[in-house]
Amino acid sequence: MFGEKALELIRELHRNREGTLAPYNEDGVRQVLEEMQALYEANQQDVSQLVQNESDQTSLTAVQIRHDSLQRNKRCLLAYLYNRLQKIRELRWEFGSVLPANVRSNMSPKEMEWFSKYNRTLANYMRSLGNGGLDLTQDMQPPQNVHIEVRCVEDRGELELDDGSKILLKKNSMHFLPRSQCEHLIRQGVLKQVT
């Protein structure tokens, strides 16, 4: 059936999980392009016969169907490529200008090219803001109140803060700390946030 392979590319987009990029389906893209070439050639042939002979309703219908299949294949293929760019764009905002290796290895060389151009375009724009620019990939969330109250769950010894001061993390001791400097300890279960 015409258009099956193109549809498969679209299905692939929908299967793509959040935060990842499926491998570029080079084979799939090539097969759609080949199918398009075949449809095009078949149409050329029918059309030139139509011009020579009396008009034949059957081949006219065939031409129309092939024409529609060509348009459909084109749409699907462009949607596939365009949506992948969107995805790569999202990942750029999530991970920064250097994408994780498992994402990069799933990009086509042309997508890599597009990505570095996108990076340049974005960097140029951000640099143009005010004096010295503004990094829009930072400050993604409203600033939470900078300090939070935590209770220490286990003895952990001394913790040095960014401002040079030191605190002693003793079991059951309470502390009032900058969120940014104790988030990892909360994740590790050393500290517990008190509300």
Binding site: Q141, P142, H147, F176, T195
Partner: protein, 176 residues
């Protein structure tokens, strides 16, 4: 919009604190605050109040509507009214939530307050659901929605707008 964005926006509202320290006026971009005198009440934006509270540097005075008696009245009139009543503050839910989190110990009967806030919210949520149903059902192209807060609109938005946009395109295709 995100819940956190609405909370962020609510945090600019002013309320009273009593600082336990003294300090000169601070020239913020958003306006001057201070001078602070230990023991003297002063109006500051909520974000500042919360930050000072977290540093144990002030006591927060909840707004005059955030108490059991007033909330009880609001709850009763919300139940009695067919339409939405006007809440004492546009950021009713956000402010209640923030203060119950950060200034619980500065409030009398915090648990009762929490329950009342939730009750009022639930009564309004039920109204919101039935008015959405009505609106979508009669296929109106416009409606008055006075007194509904941003937070409530935000909760209703995804569902309501999808149905409306869908209905609109159906109406258009019919009239073509």
């Amino acid at each position: 919009m995100e819940h956190s964005e609405l909370e962020f926006s609510a945090e600019k509202q002013k309320l009273k604190i009593v600082p336990n320290f003294s300090m000169d006026k601070i020239y913020f971009i958003s306006g001057d605050v201070g001078p602070f005198k230990a023991g003297l009440p002063i109006d500051v934006p909520l974000w500042l109040a919360i930050s000072l509270r977290q540093r144990q540097k002030c006591v927060i005075h909840p707004p005059d509507w955030l108490n059991v008696a007033t909330l009880q009245e609001i709850k009763e009139s919300e139940m009695a009214a067919e339409l939405f009543t006007k809440l004492p503050n546009e950021h009713f839910r956000e402010i209640s939530q923030l203060l119950l989190t950060h200034a619980k110990h500065n409030m009398h009967h915090a648990d009762a307050i929490r329950t009342l806030v939730k009750d009022i919210w639930d009564i309004r949520a039920a109204k919101l659901r039935s008015s959405i149903d009505k609106f979508v059902h009669v296929q109106a192209s416009h409606a008055r929605i006075d007194n509904i807060t941003r937070m409530e609109i935000n909760l209703a938005r995804p569902f309501l707008l999808d149905s409306l946009n869908h209905l609109h395109s159906l109406r258009r295709s019919k009239s073509l």
